[in-house]
């Protein structure tokens, strides 16, 4: 059955592509979802944090390379840059802006984060200019892997084949563990479920909120940093990311961590199969999946319908 065999291999290749894409999308979407869960703010500026994370990682990496650092150091640099961006920008944004918006209308919160997004976009251009920035040392250092394809082989980069899905899986596992089995994680869950009740139980909701936003910002930055070796960072990269992240978050259900992973996987695989089977639908597939899910489950795949409080 050569037809079946060849198409089976094609499906396999599409799966590999989809997995790598899903991993990159998940990294950004999960931070957005975490922040929404605790703050109830759909943070449009999350896209800017992604872009700044990418730019910061690339700049640090290029600086280290200029000092003669070995290429493997690029990988920890990506991580360090994300933490740096999260720790520096997260508390500032949360304290100065979002905390003041806490009890305002959702539409106002959305507008404020959109304004912040625009400001950060311009700031990005001031700092990094408009020329594409690339730091691909880690990707080149890891090299390629030849995946068998019938009598042929298809080269994949080891970075996309192993590092991206690996980091995404590790992030999911760590988040799930922390939220379920640690005191801090349980406090985050408590604030997510019922802020007032959590406060009544003695939880410092403000501190939890700041911590969560910082982690969310770092995750967005990590998404950008991990993407940096594979893409050209240019103005506007944050805008396209945030739109796709919204699709993942809406599909998953707001505030859902595991849901974000599944939604990213669905969207990633859907997109890569579309490229293989019907490329003209590639762009709409993520949004078609979102609409299909929301038609049947308006609260998203893992979302819980909220009862209205009187």
């Amino acid at each position: 059955m050569p037809w079946l065999s060849e198409n089976g291999i094609l499906v396999g290749l599409a799966l590999l592509d989809g997995l790598s894409y899903a991993a990159a999308v998940f990294m950004v979407a999960v931070g957005l979802n975490l922040v929404f869960g605790v703050l109830r703010v759909l943070n449009v500026a999350h896209g800017s944090l992604y872009a700044i994370g990418g730019y910061a990682a690339a700049s640090l990496g290029l600086f280290a390379a200029s000092l003669g650092a070995p290429p493997w150091l690029g990988l920890p640099i990506l991580l360090a840059a994300s933490v740096l961006v999260g720790v520096v920008l997260g508390p500032v944004i949360e304290r100065l802006l979002l905390r003041r918006m806490q009890d305002r209308e959702p539409v106002l919160q959305l507008l404020v984060t959109f304004a912040l997004f625009m400001i950060l976009e311009d700031l990005q251009k001031l700092v990094w200019g408009v020329q594409p920035v690339v730091f691909d040392a880690p990707l080149k250092w890891l090299g390629t892997v030849d995946v068998p394809f019938g009598q042929d082989v298809i080269p994949f980069t080891a970075y996309q084949l192993y590092v991206l899905p690996g980091v995404a899986l590790a992030t999911l596992a760590i988040l799930a563990y922390v939220l379920r089995y640690t005191l801090t994680g349980r406090m985050v869950v408590a604030v997510t479920v019922d802020r007032e009740a959590a406060r009544a139980m003695g939880i410092d909701a403000a501190k939890v909120t700041m911590l969560t936003f910082t982690v969310g910002a770092a995750l967005a930055a990590l998404g950008g940093a991990l993407a940096a070796p594979t893409v050209s960072l240019v103005p506007g990269v944050g805008a396209s990311t945030i739109v796709l992240s919204f699709a993942v978050v809406a599909t998953a259900g707001l505030g859902q961590i595991e849901g974000a992973a599944l939604a990213a996987l669905l969207i990633g695989l859907g997109r890569s199969f579309a490229v293989y089977v019907a490329p003209e639908f590639e762009v709409v597939v993520p949004y078609a999946i979102m609409v299909a899910v929301l038609l049947f489950r308006p609260q998203g795949l893992f979302g819980v319908a909220e009862t209205r409080r009187i």
Binding site: V130, T144, V231, G236, A239, E282
Partner: protein, 446 residues
Amino acid sequence: MAGTGRAGMLTRREALVGAGAAGASLMLPGGSPFAQGAKPAELKVGIATYLSGPASVFGVPGRQTAEMLFDEINAAGGIAGVKVRPIFVDEGPGVDHVVGEYRRLVQSEGVHLIFAAISSADCIACAPLADELKRPTLLWDCGTQRIFEDNRYSYAFRTQANATPEILAALLYLLKVKPDFKSIAVINQDYAWGRDSWDIFRTAMNTLKPGVKVSAELFPRFGATDFSTEITRVLALRPDVVLSTSWGGDLDALIRQASDRKLFERSAFVMPLAESSLQRVGKALPAGHIVGARGDHWFLHPSPADPERLKRFSDSYRAKYNAWPIYPCFHMAQAVSAMRAGIEKAVAAKNGGWPTDAELAAAFKGLEFPSPTASVRIREDGQGLENQLIGTTLHSDKYPFPVLTDMIVFPAESVTTPVGQKSADWLKTLTPDMVGKLPQAQAFKS
């Protein structure tokens, strides 16, 4: 004195009529300081370019070139004794924004000329406005061939070529250097340029070399940063040729990712707009692939009309911005050169008097002006005739990025749709023997 009741005094009726006429002239759309042919204190030029979004990698070099050249003009005393001032507007927010800005530039800022735009959609929207507001407009960097094939304008002129010669030249080059290719895949941006340029390429290819198998037609989102899936698909299909008319950050990412995945080793790439990416992607782009300059722009042009002029332009840009000029820089230089030549022609026609808007617009018709590499002539339909340079990438020790070799400079007339014809029809009348008549290729000289 006719019209006055008493010497030096207006009647009430005459005053009302006069005031009405003055008011009406102010209300006229596009009322301009040029309407009466008065010499302005300064020449205000509205320039639409991308200052935000992914396309700013492209629009900002255009703005920088304008700033550099306007400074040079002013340092030399201006154009016909008038200093020039650019007013930049951003194309980033989209067509509606650009249309609003165009009106604002004319009606509030009182600009004398407009350079618009990079996006084809913006150009299509602005060309009718030029006629409506009667403001001379130079389409400085837009590609769509449809503007002057579908309409006629009195105030809009294109100071460069359009998609048809830019894409046809790349195909002819491919047919010359790799005549035996049997299959092709396309990876283009999913918007008007990506789709239209593929239509032009495919139509001409079906005419000149029928029977080529189209292995895949892939149109990733405009502004996409990840092409892994498209690359896997093309790697598996192994087409002889991969065409991409993409540009900007998208093309940079595609080149880098294709290089990382060894796609350049399996298929020959044809990238008619890649001159603008060479410096950014560096040696990630291997030797032996076909690159176009969207015009005859290349700071290492093998036979420029005025080598000193090209060197001066390239060196000035490099000294100021630490990069060699890319084709939007050359296109901006052409618009500035056309503006200067047009005004000087119109002023000379009035024996030193300042032209009205209509007289200035008329001066652009049939105008021939120098570009940094050759010269451009604006035809009677408003379309610029510009040569096309296509070459093959080569790695040289002298530059940290690929240079071009085996360059063919296509004469503008040989690849441009004649006046009055539509590209879609004209391309079907081409004959394969035109490949044999191409000019001699010129090697890279260090």
